[in-house]
């Protein structure tokens, strides 16, 4: 099922939780809403679900207005961050709840309900827990039951609010993989909210990066990582080196001196240069080169050495971390030259 969000705005007093948000979710895709807290991603999810309403804008399911329908009428499956399992019901009864809640004409018979619930519990590999109570389950198990419960009503879209947020790291990784496999199996349009970029990039077909109630970029995980459209996206996803620079007469200057970087037709402005730590070449200092610094710390136990380098002098030093060759010898206090190979320049917003 296709979902369209059109010019959605939601305010809480002066604070804009969502600001003119437009989004198209393709049928059958697994979409991640990624952003820091306060970015509006949960608000957007809840508006799609029908648990909140926008002050302005529209939401459409397959072209038909969804806002005039309550959450129950929209046929969405919502999985809460803290599971919201019904404590006084068994696992079986939790999963069966949506089926038993249907009005009599639509309600399947009890044997049919039982069959469906058992099938779902098998799908999430927890059939053996059917008679237990939520309090007796681990966090990961509860989350899977919450998912099974949402799937029981055969929703047109699955909405997950930070589904793995309250689990520990190892369980989170396992469930991430498990969710991806599940989606490959059942192909329900799914939207999940997360603040963990690793999770979003690993699991989703497409990622929507949000900040302060706005969408910064929408794209595949590859696109948002390799071609970040704004400084926010560059900084939020993956590691970044951040350099305040000035673009002047087709030259890029740092701390008053040109640094041999081409701005490609950008007009004069104050800007910021972003690069990935592994896209910067580090060389022993030579007098003509322009981005000069001094090594402050050396660490790193990966494929590259991680060097902490102080750039510029007065009045404030900029510290950057870059990856450098392991085979070369580095020393603290050593003067080096940095040469960004791949980089992006974003003019500062006034």
């Amino acid at each position: 099922m296709k979902i369209s969000v059109i010019d959605a705005t939601k305010r809480f007093g002066d604070f804009a939780a969502l600001d003119q948000v437009n989004l198209e979710v393709r049928s059958g895709e697994l979409l991640a809403l990624l952003g820091p807290s306060g970015s509006g991603k949960t608000t957007l999810l809840r508006i799609v679900a029908g648990l909140d309403w926008p002050d302005e804008g529209q939401v459409q399911f397959d072209g038909k207005d969804a806002l005039s329908r309550t959450t129950g009428q929209r046929h969405v499956g919502f999985v809460f961050q803290h599971y919201a399992l019904f404590r006084h019901m068994t696992v079986f009864e939790n999963v069966a709840f949506g089926l038993r809640a249907k009005p009599r004409p639509e309600r399947p018979s009890e044997p049919e309900i039982r069959r469906r619930v058992e099938k779902l519990l098998d799908l999430v590999q927890l059939g053996w827990l059917a008679q237990r109570y939520p309090a007796q389950l681990s966090g990961g198990q509860r989350q899977r039951i919450a998912l099974a419960r949402a799937l029981a009503i055969e929703p047109r879209v699955l909405l997950l609010d930070e589904p793995f947020g309250s689990l520990d790291a190892k369980v989170r990784k396992e469930l991430r993989r498990w969710l991806r496999n599940l989606h490959n199996e059942i192909h329900v349009t799914s939207i999940f909210v997360t603040h963990d970029q690793e999770e979003a990039l690993e699991v989703a077909d497409r990622v929507v990066v949000m900040d302060k109630g706005r969408i910064e970029q929408t794209g595949t995980p590859q696109q948002v990582y390799d071609q970040p459209r704004t400084s926010f996206v560059h900084e939020f996803i993956g590691e970044s080196i951040v350099l305040p620079v000035v673009v002047l007469n087709n030259q890029v200057q740092f701390a008053g001196r040109p640094i041999g970087v081409v701005p490609h037709g950008m007009r004069n402005c104050v800007a910021t240069l972003y690069a990935r730590p592994f896209d910067v070449t580090v060389l022993p200092a030579s007098p003509n080169d322009n981005l000069q610094g001094v090594i402050k710390r050396i660490h790193g136990i990966g494929p590259a050495r991680r060097l902490e380098i102080a750039l510029g002098g007065e009045p404030v030093q900029t510290i950057v971390e870059v990856d450098a060759s392991r085979t070369q010898h580095w020393e603290i206090g050593q003067a080096v030259t940095l040469r960004p190979e791949q980089y992006r320049l974003y003019p500062d917003r006034l």
């Binding site: 959450t71 129950g72 809460f80 803290h82 709840f97 029981a152």
Partner: protein
């Protein structure tokens, strides 16, 4: 430690134990004879029966009140919230005389009911009214924190799964507050059984009709029939103790079953 235990035994245990000792001075047959006399039986029936009914009424009205106080915002809500505590704070004698005045045939409410043939004051119905009055805060104040702490996401989950509002309330909200409701009911019941001051003015106190058990104890005391008084008191005390343990057990069960969500 030693001081506390000493103080406790002096103030609580010793006086209570006299009750047991005094009753032990009776033979078993005498004991049975006293508590099964027609007057005593009727007093027990009246006290426990009306207390149960009043606690039930408080359960119903208390639930309505606590729902309004917790779930809705409306002008005057804080005032209503404060009013709930009045029966708790008001001395029982004051409650007794004012309820009698209100519900007597010459009173404001009694006067309205009299033409309908309903007499409240000086009948068991009057006792019922007084017991409802003093029991209300117990139900409301016990359920209120539980309802306030209820996780909103549970109701959202139920709604997202297609449940209507009534089904959500019935199958998700209510089960979560049942333990608190039970505790409140038991507290109201325990209080009502032993109530004296609020009741004796409005009751009429006619033996075998509107005489509550505590009053019978007082009368026997005044007649210097100590044995009778202690026998009746013992029965009431044992039942009160049972209530006490029941309340504690309920409260522990409540903590086990609901607990705080996350």
């Amino acid at each position: 430690m030693g001081t506390t235990l000493l103080w406790l035994s002096l103030i609580v245990l010793i006086p209570l134990s006299t009750l047991f000792f005094r009753t032990a001075a009776l033979t078993f047959d005498q004991f049975i004879a006293i508590i099964s006399s027609r007057r005593a039986l009727h007093a027990f029936e009246l006290s426990f029966g009306l207390s149960f009914a009043a606690a039930l009424a408080n359960l119903v009205f208390g639930s309505i009140v606590v729902w309004a106080l917790v779930r809705y915002r409306f002008p005057g809500r804080r005032l209503l919230d404060a009013i709930v505590d009045i029966p708790f704070a008001l001395p029982t004698a004051v409650a007794g005389i004012v309820l009698t005045t209100l519900y007597a045939e010459s009173g404001w409410i009694g006067g309205l009911l009299a033409p309908l043939g309903i007499r409240v004051a000086f009948t068991p119905l009057g006792i019922f009214v007084a017991l409802v009055f003093i029991g209300l805060p117990f139900v409301v104040r016990t359920v209120q924190p539980v309802l306030e702490d209820l996780d909103g996401e549970l109701e959202e989950a139920a709604a997202s799964l297609g449940a209507g509002r009534w089904m959500t309330v019935r199958r998700v909200v209510l089960p979560s507050i049942v333990p608190a409701l039970l505790t409140g009911f038991t507290l109201a019941l325990a209080r009502a059984v032993g109530e004296y001051g609020s009741v004796i003015f409005i009751a009429g106190n006619l033996p075998n009709y509107s005489e509550i058990a505590p009053l019978l104890i007082v009368i026997r005391l005044q007649e210097f029939r100590y044995a009778d008084a202690t026998a009746i008191a013992l029965v009431m005390l044992v039942i009160s103790l049972l209530f006490l343990f029941l309340i504690n057990a309920l409260q522990r069960w409540t903590e086990l079953h609901t607990g705080k969500s996350q």
